[in-house]
């Protein structure tokens, strides 16, 4: 190896051939280019002609230089040039051992590690050394030496494992290996070295490659005060870094996506950083994992969540069975409705309530417990359960908690309770007092319309004020709470129905229940809970932090899950029966440990500049120059025809000018011509397929949605109907020919200029000859009264068009039954009237109201429901824009698509469906 600056040569001896270049120079100069031989009878006349230049020809200097360059490039190329050559290995005998950590801490810079190993392999390949390549995270590594080139394919398929490397195990197995010349350890810089360096040193020189940035990790997530809390873990001495934590879960449609993203700036030296994430309860319930976003993504920086973070399970128990038939007065109706979106509800009988392992138990007007039920609930509350009780006639009538404190009630109660504002009482219904600071409901909005008619009363014990969460204007407690062990008991002094108060009807009730659901702690899931069961992996994490389905991975004993993950137990979601367990790489929120290498170990970072083989570059350069030489020689010898010469000149000019200049030049040339050229492929495309078109507005987002919308509609059409449109096209209303498109979708934007006179003429022709334009003002959600803001824009744009009188699409219009039967025409928004050409007075044909539209299609449909947004799909066929919420939203989208199908059917088939109303009459006549 010999190197000059950044370029080195594998076989420098070949460079000696460069000395021959001057000889070549001399030779080439001496021999002129061979003349062309040509038989020519007129030669007799040529004799005696005076030669203008009769000196012996010499090759022109530039051709000489070109040829010298060809030869020089070829010589340099064959000498094996390398950019940024790596220094030769110190010892070139014995196999080279490459040890990769290959654990999850290697994942963030895995490709850099692969690149490093690839370079080492290349060097070993050139030196002809055998190589061992071992990943420490591999349970059964291949310890046999192989040729370096053989490892390249293996290296490409290697992936980081989802667990930490087992260095001690490999150090112990090192003796199994044969002779080792030298070893290189590509380390991740974390964890215990486990005497690996010592073991390697015993076999030969060791070099440790350490990454610049060691990996980060994420501690398991938990809930604290209603917030999702996790910790970012780093090794000591970490620099300032900026990371973001992504909360990933399923959205309403069941598609996994990033629910929230929280940025965090880590100060230098911070080892454990707390990150708290506020999430709405609905989102919180769907969180499936937390991860550090790239470039820190890895299995260690990913935390799976299990049931502990999932929806709270709430058991609802009603005291009586009497009112079940009347749903609105059923004791649990309001609780059920309020809690449905945020929690998982179970309604077991009181005796079995704890078997459902609820997080919260809500008892509506339950007064009497059996001894077993009482003790069970008491234990459960002390263990951290949250018991919410609602008062009611039964509780008021029973004598519970009046004389002695009931363990399942926060306060002692007075007998009977009171009624306010009834026919037989003096007082008015009472309103609520503002919530005391620092209590559970602090910060909730106090509605004006909540009043209380009846309630159970608390005994005025000394600690009553401390236990009051909500009080009435006159100070009587409405909601009281008491902590019991690690759990809590909450009592609503009114019913869970509107019978005693209007609280269950108010929004406040929802918010209060939401707060309660948030503070509920999850049941204990200690290590003790793991043991004794075989846990089957459901989904596993790979080293990169990606979740994959766990196929063909055997179940693991619970005791194994208490230890760190390994090849036999990859991190992931495990399940035993109904119980789920998130088995994460990081067990707790302790800082990472930096790799402690013995003193004197040779370490280095990654090779900064990658070696690059330039042979191909040089040789192709030589080839290229050779081609040029051929052309130049031909030109010199007069063998190039003038046309070919001009062509070559043009080609060279193109090279020089670059494509962009040419394009600019093309634009400058006559617009009409380019238009014709541009139109040709468009016309062919538009006429060879059915194509939906939209008007380009100039607003990139609107155009994107228009395109995506028509793509989505085309997809639906192709799936459901005989129409199979090709990709939609954008139409420039000012310049493009419209005749090819059955319909145009024209979203109205305020940025759009009204069409020019030529465009107006063209659009009018289009409309008169059977085209249709769907104007979409996209403003139904902004509409005040009958008109949205887009209508003014629409008038501005379409004012000059030759539009017929319009009417709201009547219910018997053919649009409502061209393919699907439709009642309205929703898009992303719903409700705005949709307008079409006014039809003539309906005639009554055979008893069916029938509209005789002039055989064809209304030239315009005008509406504001933003149809394209409802139709829009991305490249994968997923809908881009949300429509409504939940199931009704899906229904609305479906209806929007059906409208699109009907619309295109209407455009394509005209009033064919309208004619269908005659069919019964025709059949009847045929029968006669």
């Amino acid at each position: 190896m010999m190197s000059f600056g950044a370029i080195g040569f594998v076989t420098p001896a070949l460079l000696a051939a460069l000395l021959a270049l001057p000889v070549l120079w001399w030779l080439l100069r001496a021999t002129p280019p061979a003349p062309m031989r040509r038989a020519f009878p007129g030669i007799s006349l040529l004799f005696g002609l005076k030669d203008t230049e009769r000196t012996p020809a010499r090759t022109p200097w530039w051709l000489l230089a070109l040829r010298m360059a060809v030869l020089a490039l070829a010589i340099l190329g064959l000498a094996g040039p390398l950019l940024n050559p790596a220094p030769a290995p110190e010892r070139a005998d014995g196999p080279l051992l490459i040890v990769m950590d290959g654990g999850c801490a290697s994942a963030p810079d895995w490709s850099a590690r692969q690149g490093e190993v690839r370079q080492i392999l290349d060097r070993a390949d050139r030196a002809g050394r055998a190589v061992h390549l071992v990943s420490l995270s591999d349970a059964a590594p291949d310890l046999a030496p192989r040729a370096a080139a053989d490892w390249a394919g293996v290296l490409d398929t290697m992936r980081p494992a989802g667990w930490a490397p087992d260095r001690a195990a490999f150090a112990a197995r090192l003796d199994e290996m044969g002779d080792i010349g030298a070893s290189i350890w590509i380390s991740d810089g974390l964890g215990e070295a486990d005497n690996l360096v010592e073991a390697l040193s015993a076999r030969g020189p060791v070099e440790v490659v350490l990454p610049e940035d060691v990996a980060l990790a994420l501690a398991p997530a938990m809930f604290e005060d209603g917030q999702l809390v996790t910790h970012i873990l780093r090794a000591p001495g970490a620099p300032a870094q900026e990371v973001s934590v992504q909360v990933i879960g399923t959205d309403a449609a069941g598609i996994e996506r990033v629910l929230d993203q929280v940025g965090q700036i880590l100060a230098p030296g911070d080892e454990v950083t707390r990150v708290a994430i506020d999430l709405p309860l609905e989102l919180r319930n769907r969180v499936s994992r937390l991860t550090l976003s790239a470039p820190y993504k890895s299995a260690g920086a990913t935390v799976l969540t299990d049931d502990a973070l999932q929806r709270r399970r709430i058991a609802l128990v009603a005291g009586g069975r009497s009112g079940e038939a009347q749903s609105l007065t059923a004791p649990l109706h309001y609780l059920r409705t309020a809690l449905q979106p945020v929690a998982e509800l179970v309604e077991p009988p009181l005796a079995e309530v704890l078997d459902a392992s609820p997080d919260i138990v809500m008892l509506a007007d339950v007064a009497n417990f059996s001894e077993e039920e009482r003790s069970g609930l008491e234990d459960w509350v002390r263990e951290g359960g949250l018991l919410v009780r609602f008062a009611g006639p039964r509780m008021a009538a029973s004598a519970t908690g009046q004389m002695v404190r009931d363990s399942l009630l926060p306060v002692r109660l007075r007998e009977g309770g009171r009624s306010l504002g009834g026919a037989m009482s003096w007082g008015d219904p009472k309103r609520l007092r503002p919530f005391p600071q620092g209590t559970l409901f602090d910060g909730l909005d106090l509605p004006e319309d909540v009043d209380v008619v009846s309630q159970v009363m608390a005994q005025p014990d000394p600690d009553l004020a401390d236990r009051t969460l909500v009080a009435l204007e006159d100070g009587t407690p409405l909601v009281t709470a008491r902590d019991e062990g690690r759990g809590r008991v909450i009592l609503f002094h009114v019913t869970a129905t509107p019978r005693w108060s209007s609280l269950p009807l108010s929004g406040l009730f929802l918010q209060m229940l939401d707060r309660i659901a948030r503070v509920a702690q999850s049941g204990e899931r200690g290590e003790a809970a793991l043991e004794g069961a075989i846990w089957t992996p459901e989904r596993v994490l790979d080293g990169m932090g990606e979740v994959t389905d766990a196929d063909r991975i055997a179940g693991v004993a619970g005791a194994r899950l208490a230890q760190a993950p390994g090849p036999d137990a990859p991190p992931g979601l495990y399940r035993a029966g109904v119980r789920g367990h998130a088995y994460n790489v990081m067990r707790d929120a302790t800082a990472l440990q930096r790799l402690d290498l013995p003193a004197g170990t040779a370490t280095r970072g990654y090779t900064v500049r990658a070696e690059r083989d330039l042979t191909g570059l040089f040789l192709s350069g030589a080839m290229l120059a050779l081609m040029l030489d051929i052309l130049a020689t031909l030109a010199l010898g007069g063998r190039l025809r003038p046309a070919a010469r001009a062509g070559l000149g043009g080609l060279a000019l193109l090279f020089v000018m670059g494509a962009q200049d040419v394009q600019a030049q093309n634009v400058d040339t006559q617009a009409v011509e380019t238009q014709a050229v541009r139109d040709d492929p468009r016309a062919i495309y538009a006429t060879s397929e059915t194509v939906l078109a939209y008007v380009r507005t100039g607003d990139a987002e609107v155009d994107r949605i228009s395109r995506a919308g028509l793509s989505g509609l085309s997809l639906v059409l192709a799936r459901r109907t005989a129409i199979e449109p090709a990709e939609p096209v954008a139409v420039d209303i000012e310049r493009d020919e419209l005749a090819f498109y059955p319909m145009l979708y024209w979203p109205v934007t305020d940025a759009q200029a009204p069409p020019g006179p030529e465009a107006v003429a063209r659009i009018n022709t289009y409309l008169r000859t059977g085209g249709m334009i769907l104007f979409d003002t996209r403003d139904t959600h902004l509409a005040v009264g009958a008109e949205g803001p887009g209508n003014a824009q629409l008038r501005r744009l379409a004012g000059q068009l030759d539009l017929p009188p319009l009417e709201r699409i009547p219910p018997d219009h053919v649009m409502t039954r061209a393919f699907y039967l439709l009642d309205d025409f929703p898009g992303r928004y719903v409700g705005a009237p949709v307008w079409a050409e006014a039809s003539f007075a309906p005639e009554d044909v055979d008893g069916v109201p029938f509209r005789n539209l002039n055989d064809g299609v209304s030239p315009v449909i005008i509406g504001g429901n933003d149809w394209a947004s409802a139709w829009a799909v991305d490249d994968l066929g997923n809908f881009i824009r949300p429509v409504g919420r939940g199931v009704p939203g899906e229904r609305q989208r479906e209806m929007a698509l059906r409208f699109g199908v009907n619309l295109v059917m209407y455009v394509m088939t005209g009033n064919y469906k309208s004619d269908q109303v005659h069919v019964p009459a025709l059949l009847e006549r045929l029968g006669q």
Partner: protein
């Protein structure tokens, strides 16, 4: 099956006949483009064909009077026959190698042979006697003579770069020379002088290729004669163009001047032009010569 001379003869005949029919066919097609109208001398003279009746004038021999015709009227008529003294036309198709140019497409030699055959056909139909000069063929009449001419023309095996027109010894009549007249001056001048000195009547048609007139060459070129015996190297062929064209024009001027002084006819013909034009010119000139 006997082998020997007869086989060779047959083979040679077949080879010769291979080129013959196309040449003849082409020549006939070409000759058909010239409409002869009435043939013959169109004047009274010694011949076999009836020409006209003429009123007898004093001095006519009594034996010359056609009694059958005179019996139908009061005056005596003399029956005259058309003058059909045949003229001898000798065709000189340049046998030089230089006529084998251009190598691609129709060569000057082919064009000359076609013209010669077509002209023979026309002349034979007109009752003339046609012969060849370069492969010596004594003049003869009749269709058979045309076949012989065609056979000789298609069987020519040239050796020399340039040849000059000459009349075979002792032959008189009209010499039609079809050549490119590109022979060097020292060769060409004496031949022309000799013809003029013999007092021969000569028709010269210079057949050239387009490239010989325009000289469309460029670059470093080594020009060679068709046999390769002569060569001329040009550094930049384009630079020679003007000089060459001037010399060609001078050569044509010289030929034209000599023709005028000797009472000959001279024209040029390009291979790229239709052959009928040259044939028409030749026919017209020969008709005129006969008058």
């Amino acid at each position: 099956m006997r082998s020997g001379p007869s086989d060779n003869l047959q083979g040679a005949a077949r080879r010769a006949a291979g080129a013959l029919p196309p040449l003849l066919a082409r020549a006939e097609r070409l000759a058909a483009t010239v409409v002869l109208g009435e043939h013959g001398r169109r004047r009274a003279g010694i011949g076999e064909e009836f020409w006209q009746y003429r009123q007898a004038i004093p001095g006519d021999a009594a034996g010359a009077i056609d009694w059958r015709r005179s019996g139908r009227s009061d005056t005596a008529f003399v029956r005259q026959t058309e003058w059909s003294a045949a003229q001898t036309v000798t065709l000189n198709v340049d046998p030089a190698l230089s006529m084998d140019y251009p190598e691609h497409g129709e060569s000057k030699r082919t064009r000359a042979a076609v013209l010669a055959c077509a002209l023979s056909l026309l002349l034979v139909r007109g009752g003339e006697r046609v012969g060849l000069a370069a492969p010596d063929l004594p003049p003869g009449a009749g269709r058979g003579q045309v076949d012989r001419i065609a056979g000789l023309l298609s069987g020519m095996t040239p050796h020399e770069d340039y040849c000059v027109p000459a009349m075979p010894d002792g032959r008189r009549g009209l010499l039609v020379a079809l050549s490119d007249f590109l022979a060097p001056d020292p060769l060409l001048m004496p031949a022309l002088d000799a013809l003029a000195a013999q007092g021969q009547r000569v028709v010269l048609l210079q057949i050239t290729d387009e490239s010989e007139e325009t000289f469309p060459f460029d670059g470093r070129t080594e020009f060679r004669s068709m046999s390769g015996a002569l060569s001329f190297e040009a550094e930049r062929a384009r630079a020679l163009r003007d000089g060459y064209r001037a010399k060609l024009a001078a050569r044509r001027d010289m030929l034209r001047a000599r023709s005028r002084s000797a009472g000959w006819s001279f024209a040029t013909h390009r291979v790229q032009e239709p052959a009928s034009r040259a044939l028409l010119w030749l026919h017209r000139v020969i008709e005129g010569e006969r008058r």
